[in-house]
Amino acid sequence: MNKTKELAALTRDCLAAVREGRDRSHAWRAWESLQERDSDGNAKGPLPYTEEALAAWDRAERLHPNDPALLHHLAIAHHARAWDLEIAGSPEAPEAWEKALGYWRRISARGDFWSDLKAKLLQCRPEASADVVDSLRGSLMEHLLDIHVDFVRHYFEGGEPHRAGVHVEIVRRARIAPAVRKRLKDKLFAAMTGSVGESLQSRAFESALAPVEQFLSLFEDHLPALRLHAEICKEWLSGLSYGDGWDEILTLARRARPRTERLAGHADLKAHPLAGDALQELASLFTQRGSNRGDAFFARKDEMHSEDKRRQALDAYEFSVEWGRAALPVSSPGSGPRRLLGHVLNNQAICLQSEIPQIMEADVDLETKLDTAMNTLRRVISKLEEAAEADPDDEVIPKNLDASEEALADLEKKKTLLKLNPFALFLEDDS
């Protein structure tokens, strides 16, 4: 090599060394600022972070955005800082957690970082299996998010659900594999609903239901949560009377309804028979309560002449029918819920039909009365047809259906006659 080439090589080496020195100086400054020192100024070891170190690493990252060692420093420092902010109850904590998880996610993707760690493992113990490092890498994000599950449990147990919510959000927003997400959701569910059993034992239903609803507000299709919601509602409902507790039943039904609809339409429902059972039992109990209330009014024949009482009976039956329909997707033919629905629809139809004499006595023209009565009968027939479909073995329903169809035909005949006969007033007496 001639002298000129040697000199050029030496100059290049110098340039490279200067560049490296300049670039590494930020990381070095950061490292220096981390040192905890004794009274003589001797370094005792690095702190997880200092503000000065974070600033220096930020500058270093701008020069070397993908340096794995630097990313590791940043992950440790930001994560440790987030932890301290969390412990201090700082509002900056959520953002700090997200930032730290971002660095860890980048490390997780850096093969060179994990190769270095494998090399270090083999330095420590040459016969060690590198699988250990692969396992560490594979579980990294799940382990990091497990921390937030712990915080959720901690804050729920400490009666700080709003702080728990912050960590639920962190898990919910995390960019992770579907399988890991499912495991974390299940862990989160267990953490958030850990106290439900105790609440149920003391019949504190509101306390039992609230965390489940909070969880469902974040993960609305979580089947175990939907099932638990139905089970708690059923327990609550079983202690409510259709008489004194009717308003409470209606309130509970409004809370239960959107969840049972989601449960009934859940793609995995068939694979989870216990969830189906929970839905069926709750829907049947609501159906029963509505049916009992309707029957209670319906049984008092004298009160059926009261418009108000009949309206209450019909409302109760309508409530009952809606819940009976909710149980259909999980009820087999001939099952109790289907027979109950048939019974309720039949009684609702009879209750509706009992309006017809009053309609015909109303102080309006005959054509209007006939139209109103026919419309009512059409509704009656529709109810009875649905009843027959729900409980095909019931012998009374078809007879009622035949009678209603005959009554409708009779009214239709009268309406035709009324149109043809200008002296229809004479017909009115016959009606």
Binding site: A17, W28, A43, H72
Partner: protein, 165 residues
């Protein structure tokens, strides 16, 4: 095992009292015998008097040291522990120092006889660059801490060659 949950309470920052900090073992130390020696040194310090070895003002206990020892002497748990602990940064001017020696002393270390002597302008430039890169030469070496750590010989480049399993 989840290293971030090892403390038992979420209200304890796991980065503060890592096994490396507790045992005063630099993360760069891989030789089994050296680790054992360092832990022994630290144990004597811990037993010498409360508060002599403290991390963020809180004295290290024997129980903490025992737990740290268990972590550090098992290569697998120790590697996991490294995720929690900063690795030491080498001084940035290390390469420059080496060059500086080379350009200052062409016939000496790092340069074969007959090699090109650096011209004076290059020497000046490298010297100036070395002066500007802040490598904090007055700072203690990060691989060692308090004086008692330096009593265990020998540390150095050769220690990884006879790593213990």
């Amino acid at each position: 095992m989840n290293i971030w949950r090892r403390g038992g309470s979420v209200m304890q920052n796991p980065y503060e009292r890592t096994a490396f900090r507790i045992a005063r073992v630099p993360a760069e130390t891989v030789r089994y015998k050296t680790i054992v020696q360092l832990i022994g040194q630290t144990r004597r310090v811990v037993r010498a008097g409360a508060g002599v070895h403290a991390v963020k003002g809180r004295p290290v206990t024997d129980a903490e040291l025992n737990a740290a020892e268990k972590v550090l002497l098992d290569a697998e748990t120790r590697i996991a522990e490294e995720l929690l602990h900063h690795r030491a940064e080498p001084p940035p001017a290390r390469a420059l120092d080496s060059l500086l020696r080379k350009v200052r002393n062409p016939a000496g270390e790092g340069m074969e006889t007959g090699e090109t002597e650096a011209p004076s302008w290059l020497k000046s430039w490298v010297e100036e660059a070395a002066r500007r890169v802040p490598d904090a030469p007055s700072s203690p070496c990060p691989f060692f801490g308090p004086d008692e750590l330096t009593l265990v010989p020998p540390f150095g480049d050769g220690e990884t060659e006879d790593a213990h399993g």
